[in-house]
Symmetry: C2
Subunit: 132 residues, 2 copies
Amino acid sequence: MDGLYGELRTRTIDGIGGLVLVITQDFETGEGLMAAYANKEALKRTMETGYAHYYSTSRGEIWFKGETSGNKQLVKEVWADCDGDALLYRIEQEGRKAACHEGYKSCFYRKLRDGELKIAKKRIFDPNDVYL
Amino acid sequence: MDGLYGELRTRTIDGIGGLVLVITQDFETGEGLMAAYANKEALKRTMETGYAHYYSTSRGEIWFKGETSGNKQLVKEVWADCDGDALLYRIEQEGRKAACHEGYKSCFYRKLRDGELKIAKKRIFDPNDVYL
């Protein structure tokens, strides 16, 4: 696993070094679900457990996706891009089948229409029921 | 257009501020094609022309994708994520139908298998024939 991290080209995001971008897609439908960052430890835990772990740049800590909400992401495939600073996880979304803490399947639930972002996906759960 | 940029939360990548992440997907197949960054000007040009423009963090300049290779990306849909630091473009890949300068349809052409990244997609063109 150090092997994979060692092959990547890390970036510094808002002053936090050692990060690689991770984008996730639904394994079955290909829907783009979210974008986040991972550090070495997050990548290690992802490989060991099979579930997506990220590094939260806002909280400054490892973030086991779904630990609170149950909406874990089983990583079925890992792809790396040409310059090695981004990974693509093809995942199976567990729990409420929603990747976004706002209750949508995808974090990309707002679509640009006539120059404005408008909600264009259906909400799956009410965040107030999940996050206390 | 300033409207959209104004609604986004920019990040600083390797010391370069004012950037938002852009991930692109094939409009028809949903295949994840690439990840790059855009600044205000790149976003403006994308909206004005309908073709994806990025900000190259390595070259430090606006990057009109496909300007050299002809492999332009017609942006069909723009989506924003929940915290506003990432956009998802659903695009129609023109030219050789390959987003990657290495000659693959997707920049994510290496798949993790048995702990190693291995090329798992078919090359569409030889970069030596395109980039002089």
